[in-house]
C-alpha cells in the first residue's frame, strides 16, 4: 500500500525551503497549542465554578465566574488568532501535502468548522457578556456550549492528526495526476487505530492544565494577596482535587495507553522515543540519556527489560530497533528528549499531587506550607510544557513521514514557495508572536494582580432580575430597543 518515496534531488535551495517550512510549522503549532488545552481545561473549571454557584448561591462563586470568564476571553482570543494560521498554512507551505490528503484531512477540518467553531463562536459572546444579561442557569448553559465546542474542535483535529499517524479507510489514486489518497470508508478514517487513545490523552492533559491554571492563580492569592485569599481557597477546593485526579489518571492510565498504541501502530516512533537502535528481546527503558544519531548509539541510565514489559507486556518481548526500518526515524534524539522530558515532569507531578492531596484533606495543612503553594503556582507552566513536549513526541517521532509510511515530509512542501519567502513569513511570525506573548502575559498579569472585582462594581442589576429561562431570554431584550447609548 505504501508509496515509493520519490527521492528527487532538489538541491540545496529546496532543502533550505523544507527546513524553514518545518521550522515555521513547529513554531506556529507549538505556540498555538498553548491555548486550546487551556480553552478546554479552563472551560471545564468554569463549569465547576458556576455549577457551585448554582448549587450554593454563595456570591463568592459568582464573583469568581465574572473574573475567570474575563481570563477565558483573553485565552480564547489568542487561540482563535493563532488557530486561523494553521488552516492557512497547510495550503501555503504544504501544497503537495494538501493535494495528497485534501479528500480526507480537508473533510475533517471542514467538519471541525461546522461542528465546533460555530458552537464556540455563537456562544462565546453569551459566555463573555452573559453575567449581566443572563440568569445563572442560562449563563452556565452558554459556558457549557463554549466548552463543548472547544472539545469538539480538539476531537476533529486529533482525528485528522491521527489519520496522519495511522492512516486508514483510503486508497491511493495515481491518475489523474497529482497522486492522492481518496476516502473509501468514512468510519475507518474517523476511528483510525490511534485515535481513541490519543484523544483521551489530550483531553486529560488539557483538563490537567486547566485545573493547574485555576490552582496556580488561587495559590498565588493565598500567598500574596490577602484580600483574595478566601476566594483563592474556595477555588482551590475545586481545582486541587481535580488537578490530582487528572494528573494521576494521565500518568497511570491514558499516558501508558497512548504509548502502547504507538508500540502497536508506529513501531519506528517507539524506537525513536526510547533510542533503541537494534531489534532486541527485553529492551531497556531509559530514565534519561542522549541519542547520538551519527554514531547510532544511545547512552544513559536505563531500567533493563522495562520497555519490553510496558510496550509488549512481556519482560522479554521484542522491540524493533531504529536500524531495522527501511525508512528509519530522522529526529530520534529530539523525539527521545521530548518524550523523556514529558515523562519526567508528568511523573514528578504524581508524588507532588499526592502529597498536596494529603496536606489538603488533612485539616487544610497545605495552606501553611508556603513552598508547597509555590510549587502549585508553577504547575500551570509545567502542565503546558508537558503538553507541548507531548505534541513534539508525536510529530517529530513520525519523521521523516508527514503521513506515516505514505508520504515523506520532504515531498509535501509547496514547490513554488521559495526559501526567501519563508524567511519573510517566519520573521513576521516570530515578531508578531513575540509581541503577542508579551501583551498576553502583561494583560494576564494585570488581571490577576487586580483580582476578582467586587460584585457591586460589576453587576448592573440584581441576579434575580436576569432572565433565567430560554423563553425569558428571547422575550427580555425587547426593552433594549428604547435604550440609548451612553
Amino acid at each position: 500500500m505504501s508509496l515509493k518515496p520519490k527521492h528527487t534531488n532538489r538541491g540545496v535551495g529546496r532543502l533550505d525551503a523544507e527546513l524553514l517550512a518545518r521550522l515555521q510549522f513547529t513554531l506556529t503549532i507549538s505556540y498555538h497549542f498553548i491555548f486550546p488545552p487551556l480553552s478546554m481545561g479552563l472551560g471545564l473549571m468554569l463549569l465547576f465554578i458556576s455549577g457551585m454557584y448554582l448549587r450554593t448561591k454563595d456570591p463568592k462563586w459568582r464573583r469568581l465566574s465574572f473574573f475567570w470568564v474575563k481570563i477565558y476571553g483573553i485565552v480564547f482570543a489568542m487561540g482563535v488568532a493563532t488557530g486561523v494560521v494553521m488552516e492557512f498554512e497547510f495550503g501555503m507551505n504544504w501544497a503537495e501535502y494538501s493535494r495528497f490528503v485534501g479528500n480526507i484531512f480537508g473533510s475533517l477540518l471542514a467538519a471541525e468548522g461546522v461542528f465546533a467553531f460555530f458552537l464556540e463562536g455563537a456562544f462565546l459572546g453569551l459566555m463573555l457578556f452573559g453575567g449581566n444579561r443572563l440568569g445563572p442557569r442560562m449563563w452556565f448553559l452558554a459556558s457549557f456550549m463554549v466548552a463543548l465546542g472547544a472539545h469538539f474542535s480538539a476531537l476533529w483535529i486529533v482525528m485528522a492528526n491521527s489519520w496522519m499517524q495511522t492512516p486508514a479507510g483510503f486508497e491511493i489514486q495515481e491518475f489523474p495526476k497529482p497522486t492522492r489518497a481518496v476516502m473509501t470508508d468514512f468510519w475507518e478514517v474517523v476511528f483510525t487505530p490511534s485515535f481513541i487513545p490519543r484523544i483521551l490523552h489530550v483531553f486529560f492533559a488539557s483538563w490537567t492544565a486547566g485545573a493547574a491554571f485555576l490552582a496556580s492563580v488561587s495559590a498565588y492569592y493565598i500567598l500574596r494577596k490577602k484580600e483574595f485569599a478566601d476566594l483563592g481557597k474556595a477555588a482551590l477546593s475545586i481545582a486541587l482535587p481535580l488537578f490530582i485526579l487528572f494528573a494521576v489518571a494521565n500518568a497511570f492510565i491514558f499516558g501508558p495507553e497512548s504509548a502502547r498504541s504507538v508500540a502497536e501502530t508506529q513501531p519506528s516512533k517507539l524506537a525513536a522515543m526510547e533510542g533503541i537502535w537494534e531489534t532486541e528481546d527485553g529492551a531497556p527503558m531509559y530514565l534519561f540519556g542522549w541519542v547520538d544519531e551519527e554514531a547510532g548509539t544511545t547512552t544513559g541510565l536505563a531500567v533493563p527489560n522495562m520497555l519490553s514489559f510496558l510496550a509488549v507486556g512481556d519482560l522479554n518481548g521484542t522491540v524493533e530497533g531504529i536500524n531495522s526500518f527501511e525508512t528509519p526515524p530522522t529526529a530520534a534524539n529530539l523525539t527521545f528528549q521530548s518524550y523523556h522530558f514529558m515523562i519526567a515532569l508528568g511523573m514528578a507531578m504524581v508524588p507532588f499531587a499526592l502529597l498536596a492531596a494529603v496536606l489538603w484533606f488533612w485539616k487544610r495543612k497545605l495552606l501553611e506550607y508556603r513552598w508547597a503553594l509555590w510549587i502549585l503556582v508553577s504547575s500551570v507552566f509545567v502542565s503546558i510544557a508537558i503538553i507541548i513536549a507531548g505534541w513534539w513526541v508525536t510529530e517529530f517521532g513520525r519523521q521523516p513521514w508527514i503521513v506515516y509510511e505514505l508520504m515523506l515530509t520532504a515531498d509535501a512542501i509547496s514547490p513554488v514557495v521559495s526559501a526567501e519567502e519563508i524567511i519573510v513569513s517566519l520573521g513576521g511570525f516570530v515578531l508578531i508572536y513575540a509581541l503577542l506573548m508579551v501583551l498576553f502575559l502583561y494583560l494576564l498579569n494585570a488581571k490577576i494582580q487586580h483580582g476578582p472585582a467586587p460584585l457591586e462594581e460589576i453587576e448592573s442589576k440584581p441576579v434575580s432580575e436576569l432572565p433565567d429561562t430560554l423563553r425569558g431570554i428571547f422575550a427580555a431584550r425587547g426593552e433594549g430597543k428604547e435604550k440609548m447609548t451612553r
Partner: protein, 339 residues
C-alpha cells in the same frame, strides 16, 4: 457531476455568509476612528460587534476548510501561489482578533487609542487584501500545466486588483455604516447617516469602474455576460438592492436597510460566480490549465460525506447564529463587564 455543482453553490453561499457577516464588522472597524470620537462611543462600536465577531470570522475558516476538502487542488495552488499575500492576511486577522479582546482590558487612554488604531488599520487592511486577492483571482492567474501559480506579491498588485480592493473597502464600510445606524442612536447614528451617502456613492462609482475595466480588458469572467443576457439579472438586482438600502434608511427602517445591503452583497458575489463558473482559478497562460469545479475536486465519496456533514451541521449553525443575533438585537448598551 451534480455534486460538484451543488458544492460550488454551497461554497458561494459560505463565502457570501462571510462577506455579509464579517463584512459588517470589518466595516465597523474601518469606520471606528472616523465616526466614533470618544472612548464611550468607541466602546459602543466594539460592543455592537463584540458578541458576534468570532462567529462571523468562523465563516472564513469554514470557507477555507470547504475549499481544502472539496476543491483541494484549487486550495493548494491558490494558497501557495499567493503566499506572501496570504501571510499579510494572517497578520491582519491575528491583529484584529486580539484587538477586540485586549483593547478595553486596561483603562489607560494611550493603551486604548493604540489599539483603536490597530483595529482600524487591520480592518482596513483585511478588506483591502481580500479585495485585491479576489480581484487577482477573477482577472486570471499564471497557472501552469503543473497546477502551480508562479507569481509574487508585486505582480498581484495590478491596477485592476487594487481597484477591486478599494471597491471592497468601500462596500464593507458602507455595509458597516448601515449596521451601525441600526445598532446605535443619537449623535453616533447621525454621524453614520451623514457618511453613508458618501460611502454609497464611492462604492457605486468604484464598482462601476471595476465592471468597465473588466469588460474593456476582455477578462474571461465577463464572457458569459457578453454571450447571454439572463445573467444580467443579478447585477441589475444588486443595483435595485442598493436603491432599497437608500429607501429604507430614509424611512428609518434600518433592519430592512441592512437586509437589503446584505442581499446586495450576495447578488454581487453571485454575479461574479456566474462569470467564473465552472472555473475556480482561471489560467492566463492557457485556458486548458484552469482549475475547475470538476478537475480540482475531491472524489465522489468525499463530496457525499461532506454534504451529509453539511446537512447535519448547517441547521444547527443557522439556529444558533440567528438565536444569538436575536438575543443581542436592538440598540447596543455598554455594561460594566463590556468591551
Amino acid at each position: 457531476m451534480i455534486l460538484n455543482e451543488i458544492w460550488f453553490i454551497l461554497f458561494v453561499v459560505i463565502v457570501a455568509g462571510y462577506l455579509i457577516l464579517d463584512g459588517f464588522d470589518m466595516g465597523v472597524g474601518i469606520l471606528h476612528m472616523v465616526v466614533a470620537r470618544t472612548d464611550a462611543e468607541r466602546r459602543t462600536l466594539l460592543n455592537s460587534i463584540g458578541p458576534v465577531w468570532d462567529g462571523n470570522e468562523v465563516w472564513l475558516v469554514l470557507g477555507g476548510g470547504v475549499l481544502f476538502a472539496i476543491f483541494p487542488f484549487a486550495y493548494a495552488s491558490l494558497f501557495s501561489g499567493f503566499y506572501i499575500a496570504f501571510m499579510l492576511v494572517l497578520v491582519v486577522i491575528i491583529l484584529r482578533a486580539v484587538t477586540l479582546e485586549f483593547r478595553s482590558q486596561r483603562p489607560g487612554a494611550r493603551w486604548r487609542s493604540g489599539w483603536d488604531l490597530v483595529f482600524s488599520l487591520s480592518s482596513l487592511g483585511l478588506a483591502l487584501l481580500l479585495g485585491v486577492a479576489f480581484g487577482a483571482v477573477i482577472a486570471g492567474v499564471p497557472l501552469g500545466p503543473d497546477q502551480e501559480i508562479r507569481t509574487n506579491l508585486f505582480e498581484l498588485l495590478t491596477p485592476f486588483a487594487l481597484l477591486v480592493g478599494l471597491a471592497t473597502v468601500a462596500m464593507f464600510a458602507m455595509h458597516g455604516a448601515i449596521y451601525l445606524i441600526m445598532k446605535t442612536g443619537g449623535e453616533l447614528q447621525a454621524r453614520c447617516k451623514h457618511y453613508l451617502i458618501y460611502l454609497m456613492g464611492g462604492f457605486v462609482a468604484l464598482n462601476t469602474l471595476v465592471v468597465i475595466a473588466a469588460v474593456v480588458m476582455g477578462m474571461a469572467f465577463t464572457e458569459r455576460y457578453l454571450d447571454q443576457i439572463w445573467p444580467v439579472i443579478f447585477p441589475a438586482a444588486a443595483l435595485v438592492a442598493m436603491g432599497a438600502v437608500w429607501y429604507f434608511v430614509q424611512r428609518a427602517r434600518y433592519f430592512l436597510a441592512f437586509a437589503s445591503s446584505s442581499l446586495m452583497i450576495l447578488l454581487l458575489l453571485t454575479a461574479g460566480a456566474i462569470g467564473m463558473h465552472p472555473n475556480l482559478l482561471i489560467s492566463n497562460i492557457d485556458a486548458a490549465y484552469s482549475l475547475t469545479i470538476f478537475n480540482a475536486a475531491s472524489e465522489e465519496k468525499t463530496l457525499v460525506v461532506a454534504l451529509v456533514i453539511a446537512l447535519i451541521g448547517m441547521p444547527f449553525v443557522l439556529l444558533y447564529t440567528t438565536g444569538v443575533y436575536y438575543i443581542f438585537r436592538g440598540k447596543v448598551s455598554v455594561e460594566p463587564d463590556s468591551y
